[in-house]
């Protein structure tokens, strides 16, 4: 069983609950143990940096320090948390001066950080550590014919980490194909959904959501799959407001990639947090059911 220091992040305790439950369920099914970091704190998403850069790094460093103690890779399911942790970690390695400042602050909490842990996104753990081959072997309900728009969003890709093609990544598509779904190719998969503006600049954010929905729907997607609670909430919960603002009639389900994986792995929908969405994901269930029936025949 592979173990990871798991950093769920605040959103997974509230708006992203179903992401957390589905991540846990899928991890279990894939022999992955996500050991939650003890007494973690908020990483600050995009709202810390406008106030104090050093504080932003320190808050993330506290979580990294706790992960370092365990010697396990730091895994975040939320793209914003992932980006913050990734860069804090790499700056710690690179900038001794910054590390000294941060460690001075961490001392107050009896912690020390050196930037030695590896920071990973949950999807990347499933793809690289578990492996597509292994996942494929465990799929019992392939989501055959389900047209999924893989939505990468921003911070999982950008700023450039060291491994991925930031303009035209393909790993999400690979994962979706593995669980039997049909990933659609659409240009907006790495375009920003405006998540961080939804409170501070509603008009701009809704326009950004609209463009994404439009592109996915024009490509006949049945569902948008996300890798981040911020994107998920933004794309799903605000669809009504988009419709009101722009006179559209969008109603496309938005699911976490872990929820789709869970369905394909035959996990009961209740354990994946399915059924709590604003736009029903019932069609997804139907796909999984059909798959099962085909199998029974």
């Amino acid at each position: 069983m592979k173990q990871y220091a798991y950093y769920p992040g605040c959103s997974l305790e509230s708006l992203g609950k179903s992401y957390n439950s589905s991540a846990m369920a899928v991890a279990g099914a894939l022999d992955v143990e996500l050991k939650e970091i003890e007494d973690w704190n908020c990483c600050g998403a995009t709202a810390y940096f406008p106030v104090d850069e050093l504080l932003a790094y320190t808050l993330t460093a506290r979580n990294l320090a706790k992960a370092e103690k365990t010697g396990l890779d730091f895994v975040a399911p939320c793209s914003a948390c992932y980006k913050n942790a990734y860069f804090t970690n790499s700056y710690l390695q690179r900038d001794a001066d910054l590390a000294e400042h941060i460690n001075y602050a961490l001392e107050a909490d009896n912690l020390h950080v050196s930037g030695t842990s590896k920071v990973r996104h949950l999807i990347e753990v499933f793809i690289n550590d578990v492996g597509l081959e292994e996942i494929k072997n465990k799929v019992t309900h392939p989501l055959k014919g389900l047209r999924v728009a893989p939505y990468y969003g921003c911070q999982i890709l950008r700023p450039r980490k060291d491994h991925e093609d930031v303009e035209n990544p393909q790993y999400f598509e690979g994962l979706l194909s593995t669980i039997g779904a049909e990933p659609i190719e659409y240009a907006s998969k790495t375009r920003c959904c405006g998540g961080s503006l939804i409170i501070t600049n509603r008009k701009a954010a809704l326009d950004m959501v609209r463009i994404l929905l439009l592109d996915a729907i024009n490509h006949n997607a049945d569902v948008i799959a996300t890798t981040c609670p911020m994107c998920n909430v933004n794309l799903e919960v605000y669809q009504n407001q988009v419709n009101r603002e722009f006179g559209t009639q969008y109603s496309i389900p938005v699911m976490y990639f872990t929820q789709l994986m869970g369905l394909a792995l035959g996990i009961v929908p209740g354990n994946l947090g399915i059924g709590k969405e604003q736009i029903s994901g019932a069609s997804m269930l139907a796909f999984a059911q059909n798959a099962k029936q085909e199998r029974n025949l």
Binding site: S14, F87, L98, Y104, R202, V237
Partner: protein, 187 residues
């Protein structure tokens, strides 16, 4: 007497840990602004902001809504042919305006950021409902109603908790924060 720093130098200085090249390298090619998904809602395009910083037009830059309209999607950063971290520059401008208290009236961003940080300093975690107080007063009546309807839906579906969480080691956590910024005695 100390000469006053050029605004362009100040901004360069506070792009502290940025990966990017200095904004003096900007070619003014407009890739950032051509890429930006929120540019329509900005007073000035990101490229213009760089030009304005280089021209030391401090008042005009501070009064622009551009940097508060940045969604931090970093698309400009990865495409910039001069490898300037433009999104990080926007953060630097936000910080600068917060320190100097110089930003345009009526923006939600500054209050929101401040409230967010306060909340985290007080509890160690973020909690959406508490933040509503910072932005609802600036929303229109229609927006408030919609926000209310949505929140109710979220609570009913069990997605939004009603009570904020606090971390266990809060006291030490706050001592840690105090070593970075002065937040006063623990409440």
């Amino acid at each position: 007497m100390v000469d006053e720093l050029f605004f362009s130098h100040e901004i360069a200085n506070i792009m502290y840990a940025s990966h990017g090249e200095p904004i003096t390298n900007c070619l003014q090619c407009g890739t950032c602004s051509g890429t930006c998904p929120a540019v329509e809602f900005m007073d000035h395009t990101p490229r213009q902001i760089i030009g304005m910083i280089r021209a030391d037009l401090k008042e005009e830059v501070m009064a622009s809504n551009t940097y508060w309209t940045c969604a931090s999607c970093f698309h400009c950063t990865v495409r910039c042919p001069a490898e300037i971290d433009i999104a990080d520059m926007m953060y630097a401008l936000k910080r600068y305006s917060m320190w100097k208290g110089q930003f345009r009236e009526g923006l939600i961003g500054p209050d929101f950021s401040e409230a967010f940080v306060k909340m985290i300093v007080n509890s160690g975690r973020s909690f959406e409902p508490l933040l509503a107080a910072t932005y609802l007063p600036k929303f229109s009546a229609r927006d408030i109603i919609q926000e209310g309807l949505m929140a109710t839906g979220l609570v009913l579906s069990g997605k939004m908790p009603l009570l904020p969480k606090k971390i266990k080691g809060l006291k030490k956590f706050q001592q840690m924060v105090r070593r970075i910024i002065p937040i006063g005695e623990p409440s």
